[in-house]
Symmetry: C2
Subunit: 187 residues, 2 copies
DNA sequence: CTGGAATGTCAACATCTGTTGGCCTACAGT
DNA sequence: ACTGTAGGCCAACAGATGTTGACATTCCAG
């Protein structure tokens, strides 16, 4: 038995599988991402995937563990909240495929949709409650519509005008919207 | 041969199949919506579906024919554009599952994503060019992020705070955002 | 060196998928 | 009444999928 050092040898394999799974789920969505394809990407026998993760469903759950990594919004000047959040979102997601995996899967797979709701209930909700106690729930929902709308059109559907927009222009447009949802009131 | 009157007898069957297909695609997405399930819903043999539509792709294409039915925005007072568009979107989509079908499928199925881009290029793009010739493309993209974000969170993911919001509150929040994207400038 | 656990490989399973071709039925035109 | 044809049904195919169990290999503690 070995309990110190780099950990089990199989941990490396597990990580390889997870990386391949994340990519496949991100590109293909839950149904089209087959265990066999993931295993082939990882250069590993499909049976290993089952041995380590038990089931496709559990493999997805492990691969789609998702952390928004929201910054501490209470430390941000109130009038900059929107821009800061917009910048964070785009910086966080350009180049990370975990969100795409989760989003693509959430749209067709009920369990993934549950997880998506969890992520927003447990991460976005509290963060917003900390800076906007009134109507925090509604505000979080509104922020979600805009933020996930960006994720959908930019990273998943790849609408040309949206992908073409550079980071700063983006922040200048989306920032004020989020600011309004966070600190404004309906007209 | 019969060419007048109610049309062929099979046209009714076709319509039944299309209705069932729209519902299944909307609920399950492209991959999980099986021809067999659609046929069962329509109380028809799976082979009939193939006979009439040739292939699953073509069936989807026929079922996801989608019209935003945008109103004539040039007839709307400039300062009301945002609210009017927000109201239209929510009224158009509450209760119509065609959008959900298209959206769910577009996320995992490349051909459906193409169609989604077409819809926005051919319907939203021109409508916005008519009222905002400058930066029409970028503005259309921004509008798409917010509008599709609403569609995604309200009708597909069903985030509780978003589904809970009633029509008028919604319009009061989303309207100004769209107004800004249509007629404003980045900060 | 040796035995047993951890890792990995291989082949097969049951099931579901889109799709096809043959067959039956009903009915319109003659 | 006869026939051609459109509409409908059944059974089957080939391929892919998640999953499983039996077998081989590697590795390390004793």
């Amino acid at each position: 038995m070995q309990t110190r050092g780099q950990g089990r040898r199989s941990d490396a394999t597990k990580r390889t599988i997870l990386a391949a799974a994340r990519e496949r789920f991100a590109v293909d969505g839950y149904e089209r991402a087959t265990i066999r394809a993931i295993a082939a990407d990882a250069d590993i026998d499909p049976a290993m995937v089952m041995r380590y993760f038990g089931t496709k469903e559990k493999l997805f759950a492990a691969a789609a563990e998702f952390d928004l990594r929201l910054p501490d919004l209470t430390a941000v000047p109130r009038e900059e909240l929107g821009r800061r959040l917009a910048a964070h979102v785009i910086d966080r997601w350009d180049g990370d495929e975990t969100l795409m995996a989760l989003l693509r899967a959430a749209v067709t797979h009920p369990a993934a949709a549950d997880r998506m709701r969890e992520v927003f209930a447990e991460q976005l909700g509290p963060a917003i409650r900390a800076i906007a106690p009134d109507d925090a729930l509604a505000r979080a929902g509104l922020v979600a519509t805009q933020v996930l709308g960006v994720a959908l059109t930019r990273y998943v559907l790849r609408l040309p005008p949206v992908t073409a927009m550079d980071r700063d222009t983006f922040v200048s447009w989306i920032g004020p919207t989020l600011q309004h949802y966070l600190t404004g009131s309906p007209e």
